[in-house]
Each structure stands twice: as C-alpha cells, then as structure tokens.
C-alpha cells in the first residue's frame, strides 16, 4: 500500500509537469490554432536562464522568477517575429516552423551550456513526509500543489479579468474581436508569452530531478501531447486530468507490470490513446469538431 501511494503521488508530480506543458500547448492552440512543438525547448531554455542567474549568485527564487518573466517576453517575441507570418496559412507549414524553432533553441542551449548534465538546485526541500503510512517526497507534493495553484490562477485570469476575456475573444474570432477594438496582435503575444511562462515553470520544477540537458523535456513534451490528445485540444481541464492520469499510470505500470518496466512505459499513454481514439475520436473531453466549408 505504501508503495502504491508513493507511486501515485510521484505520478501526480510528474503528471503535473506534463500538465504544465499540456496547458501551454492548449493555450497556444486556442489562441492561434497551432501546436507549438518548441514548447518544451523554450521551457528548457528558461530553465537554463534560471540556472545561469543562480550561477551569477542570485537567490534561487529570484532566479526562477526572472527566468519566468524572461520566458514570457521570449514567447511574445517568438509569436511576433517568427510565428505571426504563418498563423493564417497552412497549419503544416506553421508546425514545421515550430519544429525549426525547437531545433534552434535546443542548439542554442547546447552551444552555450553544452550537452553535459548540469545540476539544477531544487526549489523545494528534498525531504519526505509520512502520508497514510507511505513515504512521500515533499517535492512531489509541492509540484502537484504548484500546478493546482497555477490552474486556479489561470481560471481566474480567463474567466474573471478583462485581459482573460480579451484573450478568449481573440481565440474565438480574431477578426471580429478587432472590430470591437481589441489589439489582436498584442493579445496573441500575451497568449504566447503566458504559454512560455507555463513552460518555464515546468522546466524549473523538473530541472532538479532530470538534471539540465538541452533535450531534457523532449520526452515530457511527448507525454504532454498525449495528454492534449486524450483530454481534447480545446479543454484545459481535460488536458490536466489526462496528464495526471498518464503520470500515475506510467508509474504504476512500470512497477506492477514488469514486462513493460521502466524503459517501455512511454508506450503506455500511446497504447491508451490508440484504444480511446478508436472509440471516441475527439478525445475524452473534447468537443466534436464541426468543419464549415
């Protein structure tokens, strides 16, 4: 029982990292109709930026906050100068642009900081607590808690603020939103900035565990995409729930199903997707897409 609880809590924690990336992906998709494959890469860059600030002597929390702010601006600039041009054309072209961006960002990280693993300090204490007879790491609990807080903040932002209303309006119908005076371009930049900030949070939360390397979030991105597919592209809640489910499931399977074990657990979410898609093509939470000619 103890192991089970431990696995579930750790699974929630890793799932929370996927959730942060998944939220970022959903956010960008809602706003601009694109999947940003560079989401993980930008997150890693942000983690490296925090790492650099720490190396320069700043306290960890400040370094992290600065990195999050930096990534917000980075995301906004990416939208304005790289993505904007492709937003209204073919989707597949825009996706390749994000792939090019991923390559570029990974390459920049490798060029500046090399491929060797860098040690990133943990924001949360590396101690454990006793929960229902299981030994559970504080970090796992805190990571999950952070995502819950983020979700609450986003909920408030989008449903109760003017900015959130404007972002949703632009995501819904940018042309029409402009007729009401909304500065669509600037709002898109904010949307991408927010997504990048979400990714940065994921990066600094998981950095201590995985150690910093340029490709650190490649696998996490794949899990996040699986979560988005399962949860439905238009449902932030669905993406988060799916991400947690994936995190927990992969942990449980890797221990209780030795055939799959630790190395093949990445196959689990996709086997799940395969099965679910046959039955429910729009994902677990998504709405059926209606295409108008």
């Amino acid at each position: 029982m103890g192991t089970f609880i431990q696995l579930v809590v750790d699974g929630l924690s890793t799932g929370s990292i996927y959730a942060a990336l998944a939220l970022a992906i959903v956010l960008v998709n809602q706003a601009t109709g694109l999947i940003n494959f560079a989401q993980g890469g930008i997150a890693v860059l942000s983690a490296y930026i925090a790492f650099e600030f720490v190396r320069l002597g700043l306290p960890l929390i400040l370094a992290i906050l600065l990195a999050i702010v930096a990534s917000f601006f980075l995301g906004a600039l990416v939208e304005r100068f790289l993505i904007r041009r492709f937003e209204r054309g073919d989707q597949d072209t825009a996706v390749v642009v994000t792939i090019g961006l991923l390559t570029l960002v990974t390459g920049i990280c490798a060029l500046i900081w090399g491929y060797n693993n860098q040690q990133f300090p943990s924001l949360f204490p590396l101690t454990s607590v006793d929960v229902l007879g299981a030994v559970v790491s504080v970090r796992s609990l805190a990571t999950t808690g952070t995502i819950l807080v983020i979700m609450a903040v986003l909920q408030v932002l989008f449903l109760r603020t003017k900015l959130g209303l404007a972002l949703r309006a632009v995501a819904d119908n940018p042309g029409s939103a402009a007729f009401s005076g909304l500065p669509v371009g600037r709002l898109l930049m904010v949307g991408w900035g927010l997504a990048a900030a979400l990714g940065a949070i994921a990066g600094v939360l998981v950095g201590p565990q995985l150690t910093l390397t340029p490709g650190m979030l490649d696998t996490a991105l794949v899990y996040a995409l699986a979560a988005v597919i399962l949860g439905g592209l238009d449902s932030p809640i669905g993406a988060v729930v799916a991400a947690w489910a994936i995190g927990i499931l992969e942990n449980l399977v890797s221990v209780y199903v030795p055939f799959i074990g630790h190395d093949l657990k990445i196959a689990v979410p996709f086997a799940l997707i395969f099965v679910i898609l046959i039955v429910r093509p729009q994902g677990l939470f998504g709405r059926k897409v209606v295409v108008r000619v």
Partner: protein
Amino acid sequence: MTLLELSGVTASYGPVQVLDGVSLTVPEGGSVGILGANGAGKTTTLRAISGTVRTGGRISFAGRDIRGLRPDQVAALGVAHVPEGRGTLAQLTVRENLRVGAYLRKSRKAIAEDLDYCLDLFPQLQDRIGSRAAALSGGEQQMLAVARAFMAKPKLLLLDEASLGLAPSTAKSVYAAIRRLRLESGIAMLVVEQNANLAFSIVDSATVLETGRNVLTGSSAELKGMDEIRRAYLGG
C-alpha cells in the same frame, strides 16, 4: 458636418478588382444605405472602411485619413463594424460578448447602463444572457452583434446585410430595433442591405453600387420613387 467620406475608393482581392472608384458621404448622425446586387462590392466597401482589405483612393473619418489603419485602430476612432455573418464570439456568453463590445471604454457605470439599455432594446437577449452565443438563433445572434457594436458607443455603425438568413418577421423586428436605436442615440449609420425596403426604413439616403461603382445616389424618397429601383429592388 461630414463624418465619413469615401472618394474614388478602389479595392481588390489579389488580381480581382472589386471596387473601382466608390464615393459616398455620411453626415454626422446621418444614415446612408448601400444597395446593389450580389457581388457589387457593398460588403467590400464596408471592409475598406474598417481596414480589413487594402484599398486605394481616399477614406476619411472625422476629418482624418483612415486608410491603412488596422481594424482595431479604426474601431478605436469610433467605427463599429457589424460584419456579414454577424461575427459573434461563439464560445463566449451573451453577457461576455457585450462586455467585449465595451472593451475600449473605461467607465464601469456607463457600461452597465448601456448594457441594460441593450437588453431593453433586445429583450430576447435578456432571456439568454448567460447562454453561449453559439446556442442563439440567427435572429438573436444578429441582435447580439448589433448590441455588441453599440456597446462601444461608436460614432458610426457599419451594418452589413443584417437581414441575411433571417425570416422576414425576424428581420423586420431587428430593423425596428435598429430604427429605435438610431432615433434614441443619434448614431450615424452606413447600412449595406439587399432588401431595399428594410434599408429604406432606417436610412435617409442611399447609393446603389454596380460592379464596384456608384451608379445612382439620392435621398430615400427620390430613390423609392424611381422606376429602376422599384423594379430591381422593391419588387416592381
């Protein structure tokens, strides 16, 4: 005082020239109609004003040249465009749609008052205030679109084919509400409408477009009296 002036406006979509020298004026508080058959360039004229299509010629609003401005910049100057197809923000609620309309305004009190006014103007919206816009009927969406535009307290309202896709009785009540809106607020209007009868119920004068050019301009009374108009647009 002239509020809006178009002079020799041209526009094209790629290689296709749609507007070939359109001119018109809308006085402050005035109401002008744009009539014509499908493809004559009526919608494109409105798009030229709100900045959603690139144009040549001269377009001035309140004395300022507005050619080349972004749509949100044109809106900020006091032009509210209700596009063809309504442009409702489908996933947002009726209340949220109206709040978006008031995006550029500051005074919470005035916005709340105007919201109440809209709901009084269009009682059907009051019933559906919490529903998603996508769930509304065509007529209700049209009302919502007009109300949202009004929420910006614009100086000029651009109305594009407000009767499109609506049952005749619905279209009539929408136009009746717009007429009341005009009388009570003194807003200027530029109305594109294929149904000339409806158009004449809210405009003082009109211009008729054909293949991107003005072919006839005059007051409503004059135009209504003309044989060509009667035959082409008023059913003989």
